[in-house]
Amino acid sequence: MNKSILLIGSLAATAGLAALLVPPPLPERWSGSEAALIASLSLSALPPAPADPGNAVADDGIAAELGHRLFFDPRLSSNGAVSCASCHRPELDFSDGLPIAVGVGVGQRHTPGLIGLSHSPWFYWDGRRDSQWAQALAPLETHFEQGAGRGAIVRLLAEDDEYRRLYSALFGDLPEHLPDPGQIPRQASPLGDEAAKAHWRQLDPGLRLAVNTAFANAGKALAAYQRKLRPGRARFDDYADAVGAAGPNAAARQGELLSRDEIAGLKLFIGEAQCVNCHNGPLFTNHDFHNTGILAPPGRMPSMGRFDGVREARENPFNCLGEFSDADAGQCAELRFAKDDKELAGAHKTPGLRNATRTAPYMHTGRMESLAEVLRHYNEAPVAMLGHNEAKPLGLSRRELRELEAFLRSLEAPPAIARQWLEPP
């Protein structure tokens, strides 16, 4: 009797050990729907970035050149030392490697990368801007980011010879609208401290409109530059194309383009782990907002996320429906039909996963140091501090989590960006 128990016990232990050490067999073939889903994730399925009807110069070469100069120019900050590129560092896929952004001061959230972002209809972790050009304006004036008043930005456009030349080629003669830029206090901004606001209020309404117009145009040029930041093909894309071409019953191995663990991770990614629910499409994001139970930093209230973000986007004077937008109201469907519901409390934007392996740390709080930590979080799906966690516990083994991480590594690739755009002009 005792021997039987021992035997059963040792068999169970051996089976348990085998499950840990011996990898489960790979799928021999992908089903038709799996093959189609895998093909839909390939970069080959990525269309050109959608038009931005609010930005008439979104795809203009001169606008990209102007935006490129502005992006790398630290004069666009209150201390003359912080440019867009200080936090969106080209060598780090336009992220910064820090948990929380540090500009003129310490920020509130983790810096997202910019590659492929022009495909998104919403910007910021909480979606508080509805276009890339409106987004580009916000850090310029936010006191802990670049902290420059819009007065200073417009003065620079008017007083720097190269900026004035490029600006005039795009939008018409700046001096015509601002005959005496010197009369605009650099600090002037409706969003700054009391002194900045006082300077802003003292400006003639016509001059305020001219400043706002030129300021909006600077954002449009910055967006035109950022539309050049495209992702490059990764090993996964060759695999996905091969699977897609083979169609239903595609062999899972496909000429060893991916390793055993990477293929097993892909199987989990599109199946049991449910990652593809939100990380879908060629950029591995649905560009939408979800509450996945990310904890707030110690001592801080959790962010309301999209619940607040959508309201701010609606009120922003530089939104798609605003007077500085080049769009007709009919082209602003995202803003007009944006959801505004308590369900959005604590929801943050789904980040893309291409090169996620190179852009640690993670999440809007920047508190997860590794992808392994992120995967453990989703495996456990803790109760949300605010609202409810849409994700459910997955119950994946440690081996399966490692396979998912291996799969994410197959998405690494140098970006498809001409060298000139990766360096200061």
């Binding site: 629910n277 499409g281 939408d288 469907a333 039909f337 959801k339 519901d341």
Partner: protein, 132 residues
């Protein structure tokens, strides 16, 4: 033989008149026995793309129902969340044909939409379930 000709003509005409442009993507019978035909601007439906639908509301006898108010709600029951947008009927382009704007589905899986309809103060409803 001649007497059968008009019937044959109808059989041929049916698929022609119901070509790609007019073939509804979904046909529903409402709780009140009316017909709700849905034509999507984006066909086949796909995730992550903002688009609109044309809703054709008629009686069972194909008489257009004009002046209706239609409200759309829905979500993914398996994920316990609603629609990612707030779609809205923005007008009636021809008798009984309503334009629904602001649809975008952001996840693959099972979606459930409900249509709350009021025609001359009489409530009606329909629901639509589909997989993306």
């Amino acid at each position: 033989m001649l007497r059968h000709f008009p019937i044959a003509l109808v059989l041929w005409a049916a698929p022609l008149s119901a070509g790609a442009a007019d073939e509804p993507d979904f046909s529903l019978v409402t709780a009140g026995g009316n017909l709700l035909q849905i034509h999507s601007e984006l066909s086949p439906l796909a995730i992550n793309r903002m688009h609109g639908w044309r809703l054709r509301l008629t009686t069972a006898g194909n008489i257009p129902l004009t002046g209706a108010s239609i409200r759309v709600a829905g979500g993914m029951p398996d994920h316990d969340h609603g629609l990612p947008t707030e779609p809205e009927v923005t007008g009636e382009s021809e008798p009984g044909v309503y334009r629904l704007e602001g649809l975008r589905f952001h996840m693959p899986g099972r979606w459930l939409l409900t249509f709350d309809i009021a025609i001359d103060g009489v409530a009606d409803n329909a629901s639509l379930e589909f997989e993306l």
